[in-house]
């Protein structure tokens, strides 16, 4: 339910194109970063080769590839999919885990800096939606489980 997806038909076209390589900042400035190779491997069924590679995290999600792409698709979709799989397996940069845990716990990536606000004469920050968010996230997880396990089998 509400899971990430990857479109193989569009990736097939990518493998014949490669146009966005010339506009991608990571391709230009990070040696060894080349989504074309990643896409080739995905199409060959060898995506796992990349799961522990730093390169899949070096996509900046700047969407340059998406905008220049004649399919309005972009390299980034392949990188996002591989990052998702890697993260599920527990392979990720340490900061990613730290950030995720803070997000799930507090619904934010940091709390308002109160002393600095006071000094600047800023109003009290508004209430956060943390409680509602937590409820919602728990329900999403429960709904997924139910979908995988409709009769509650194997949930012991």
């Amino acid at each position: 339910m509400l899971e990430a997806t990857l479109n193989f038909k569009l990736l097939e076209q990518c493998s014949k194109c490669g146009a966005c390589f010339s506009i991608c900042p990571s391709c230009m400035h990070i040696p060894g970063y080349d989504p074309r190779a990643v896409i080739r491997d995905i199409l060959d069924g060898n995506h796992d080769k990349w799961l522990s590679s730093r390169h899949i995290w070096q996509c900046l999600e700047c969407h340059h590839c998406l905008e220049i792409c004649y399919q309005h698709y972009g390299f980034e979709n392949a990188m996002t999919a591989l990052r998702t799989i890697a993260a599920k397996k527990g392979i990720h940069p340490t900061q990613v885990k730290r950030g995720w845990e803070m997000f799930v716990k507090t619904s934010r990536l940091g709390e308002p800096a109160l002393p600095a606000r006071k000094k600047l004469g800023l109003p009290e920050p508004k209430a956060s939606g943390a409680d509602e968010f937590k409820k919602l996230y728990a329900m999403l997880k429960a709904a997924r489980e139910k979908k995988e396990n409709p009769e509650g089998k194997g949930s012991e």
């Binding site: 730093r54 900046l60 998406l66 905008e67 990536l109 308002p112 956060s128 919602l136």
Partner: protein, 314 residues
């Protein structure tokens, strides 16, 4: 003008409250109908949350949008990332009724509904489209004639274009139009549209993040740029903080980094300290000093006029 909620986002409120300050100052002085509302969470940050759980990304953003939908407000944010993420999800749900139904089924349990009716805008296109250059010009007390400014749009102000639809995604103009309306020159440079690279800091690649910052700062320095102007807290972190860290290591660029609302505030007559510019890591004084010295000069017409009107020798 329709009322709008300001979506401050985590980074501004956690790390850069002075950005909130200058934003409030300009919103107030234009008497814009902005509101603070209860209940927002992280937008959420795409590169973090979406990589781990697409569903959490969608549901969280949809809930934030539902809060403004309910009040029949629009939404404006001084953070490019927040707007881009919220708009991405709004676009995805509007294009995909089945997914929208799934999300709304969950939201209903907490008494909310995503409709996707509110307009979501970043502050820069908002000022361009809704406030307008004419109204801005009327507020200027002292413009930036003679100042050379490098603009950094920030990828997520304009991309993905299918979700944001506010400017050309590869050759945007609106930020340029605003800056030149303030009298400054907007430099055209090779790396103008290059991504700031702050994302690399979030995946434990600090040196590479510095390398990305360095590329743009080097070019700007070689062009005699007086300030880098931007409107995104992540880009600000990258160019102010990281430039400062490089300076500490002896690599000096000396390019002040100025938030759009600070530049606007200065032009409207606010003091740098009112706007919280003394809280930047990279010193903004060279920019202010040059600007002041330019305005102490007699108007440029004067010398020519004097010459033209001088008594003739022949």
């Amino acid at each position: 003008m329709k009322e709008f909620a300001v979506f401050w986002g985590c980074t501004i409120q956690t790390r850069f409250p002075f950005i909130e300050k200058s934003t409030r100052i300009v919103l107030e002085s234009f008497k814009l109908p902005y509101r603070d509302i209860d209940g927002f969470t992280c937008c959420p940050e795409k590169s973090l949350v979406n990589n781990i759980d697409h569903g959490a990304f969608v549901v969280t953003a949809a809930r934030n949008v539902a809060l403004v939908d309910e009040l029949d407000y629009d939404l404006v944010s001084p953070c490019t990332g927040c707007v881009s993420n919220l708009a991405t999800v709004k676009g995805e749900l509007r294009a995909n009724p089945r997914e929208k139904a799934e999300v709304n089924k969950l939201l209903k349990e907490v008494g909310r509904e995503f409709k996707g009716t509110s307009k979501l805008q970043h502050l820069v296109p908002f000022f361009h489209d809704t406030v307008g250059v004419h109204a801005i010009k009327q507020k200027i007390k002292k413009d930036f004639t003679g100042m050379r400014i490098g603009i950094h749009y920030g990828c997520h102000m304009i991309r993905p274009s299918h979700a944001l639809r506010n400017d050309d995604p590869l050759e945007p103009r609106k930020f340029d139009t605003l800056i030149t309306a303030l009298g400054a020159q907007s430099l055209q440079f090779m790396t103008k549209m290059m991504c700031c690279g702050q994302g690399l800091d979030r995946i434990d690649e600090h040196d590479r993040a510095l390398h990305f910052a360095r590329i743009k700062l080097k070019e700007l320095k070689s062009l005699g740029c007086d300030a880098l102007v931007l409107c995104c807290p992540s880009c600000f972190l990258q160019f102010d903080n990281n430039q400062f860290l490089m300076e500490k290591e002896g690599e000096k660029f000396g390019i002040p980094v100025i938030y759009f609302t600070e530049l606007l505030g200065l032009a409207m007559g606010y003091k740098p300290e009112d706007l919280g510019m003394d809280l930047h890591r990279v010193d903004c004084t060279p920019f202010i000093k040059k600007w002041e010295s330019l305005s102490e000069r007699p108007p440029r017409e004067d010398a020519i006029e004097d010459g033209l009107n001088a008594p003739g020798e022949l």
